[in-house]
Assembly symmetry: C2
Homo-oligomer: 348 residues x 2
Amino acid sequence: MTLASEVTQSRALLSDKIKAHIRGKAKPVGSLGRLEELAVQVGLIAGSTTPDLGDARIVVFAGDHGITAEGVTAYPSVVSREIAKFVLAGSAGVNVLARAAGVGVELVDAGLLEPLPPHDSLLERRIGPGTKNARREPAMSVEDCTAALDAGRILDARLGAENVGIVGYGEIGIGNTSAASLIAHALTGLDLKTLVGPGAGAPALGLDHKYEVLKETFARAAIAPSSEAGRTFEVLRQFGGFEIVMMAGAMTAAAAAGRVIVVDGFISTAGAIAAEALHPGTLDNCVFAHCSAEPGHAALLHHLRVKPLLELEMRLGEGTGAALAVPIIRAAELMLREMADLPGEHPV
Amino acid sequence: MTLASEVTQSRALLSDKIKAHIRGKAKPVGSLGRLEELAVQVGLIAGSTTPDLGDARIVVFAGDHGITAEGVTAYPSVVSREIAKFVLAGSAGVNVLARAAGVGVELVDAGLLEPLPPHDSLLERRIGPGTKNARREPAMSVEDCTAALDAGRILDARLGAENVGIVGYGEIGIGNTSAASLIAHALTGLDLKTLVGPGAGAPALGLDHKYEVLKETFARAAIAPSSEAGRTFEVLRQFGGFEIVMMAGAMTAAAAAGRVIVVDGFISTAGAIAAEALHPGTLDNCVFAHCSAEPGHAALLHHLRVKPLLELEMRLGEGTGAALAVPIIRAAELMLREMADLPGEHPV
């Protein structure tokens, strides 16, 4: 038997064991609905019928985008840093939602236009002062793209050292729905138009203008066929941004390390799609927190054949949806580990 | 101006103030979607643009039902007490889900067949050893129905003394989907068939048998027209059970005291409908946690024109759905109270 088929077989065995374990819980069979499916996923990720995931954390990657020069956003790039400052002050949307869920938040500066003042919750991993304008030239160099992926992987190792088993990824970056639309279009083949939406607010020049700019950007980049990993790298390099690339790197490492990855909205989902292309299997570790109101998000979730946990019509980003999903994931974990078993056998 | 119209006017003014407060938060307008609607409701309940709801708690009412003698359930009545014992041991479904949400749980014995041993988390408020068989006679006497409503109201006062501003109501009681179907049918006029489902599991004699028994029970009770409160009282008395009646009493008092009421599944929703009929305005304080897989629940939510926060196909009862909704309600509260405001005026 090959190693791959042995892994598949042991995964199927564990899945059966977890299902039998859930059937033996003190409740009518199936009565926890989708929480039971989530519990199977969580058990498989942790490799246990009684997983202990450790701490949860929301990691927010921030970066700026040169493509904002093309009038594709409602807000100027300087707003990214203002939002990041609210995150450090503990008063941004993600902070209050994470507080409600009992989860800590940290901010990674992956490449804002201007650096932030030092802060306990700030991880300074700046690749550059925002990306280049991807309509005119690649968003970043090969070296910078490699550095961003590496920085993401190294950040994940830090989570391991701090016993974080549930990590939710959020992002801040005026212009990053443009980057995410291009990445998702390139990697899923979904129609670009389906993937273009208002982001933080309708751009001053309108959605049609945004679509035209993105179409031109995609044509300019002229992504050549290549190996899947090579092509994904080129897609990330061409469209950016630093925060999405770093997040994708972090996701690949989190999956390899057996963490539960909580995917937030449209941009984080594009990041997860890139991570899967770089490191197949990453999606097995991804829990999709919510369906955002950004129209392309539903299309991506449908493409991935996943149903998110929440549908609250949120579209703030920052990891806000991921934060709200953490207690649901924790519930699945505790169901496996702490809920009473009925006496008797529950055959696999 | 009448008192009623003054209340309506001041409510509309506060609603406008809360909406303006939310518009001024550091985020794109409307970007927290349904969390913003929930925040308006929470602010109105608390009477503040920056509410402090205090602690949250799940209160689980347990009671047994004489109608189980008619073969309408998959499990015998003794199972109610077994589940209640798991709740006291901290290992029932509601305990683990509440733990995941950071919420405490207490159990009220409103009338199980047999008493439970004393326990710190047990509130012994037994009206009787289960209800009578409602197919043959009223589930309880006028005195017992009054006592159950009163006990619920008094339990609520205790929550006030303990600074609980968010209270989720759950229930345990083999046979209580039968009681809830009858109450909901009597108070909403929805077709009885729509409201009959499997509950904890398909009854041994089938769903058609359950429907026939409930139809006969409804006919036997011959609820006479009366004042709305008088008729509601008679409906509760005829169909029971002690746990639903006590919950309805607690809900009326919780609404009067300005608490956020988290309504769990089908049975709790029937309780909320009864509470609204007894004390109009109670529903203003109700947040509907989830849509359960019990088919009648969607019909009741549709009838009430409410959209629940979660749809995870759960049907365990006990308050499990309410527990998972608490962090979302807390998020709405903290958004109002702790999220950064943008500089400038945000006119009402």
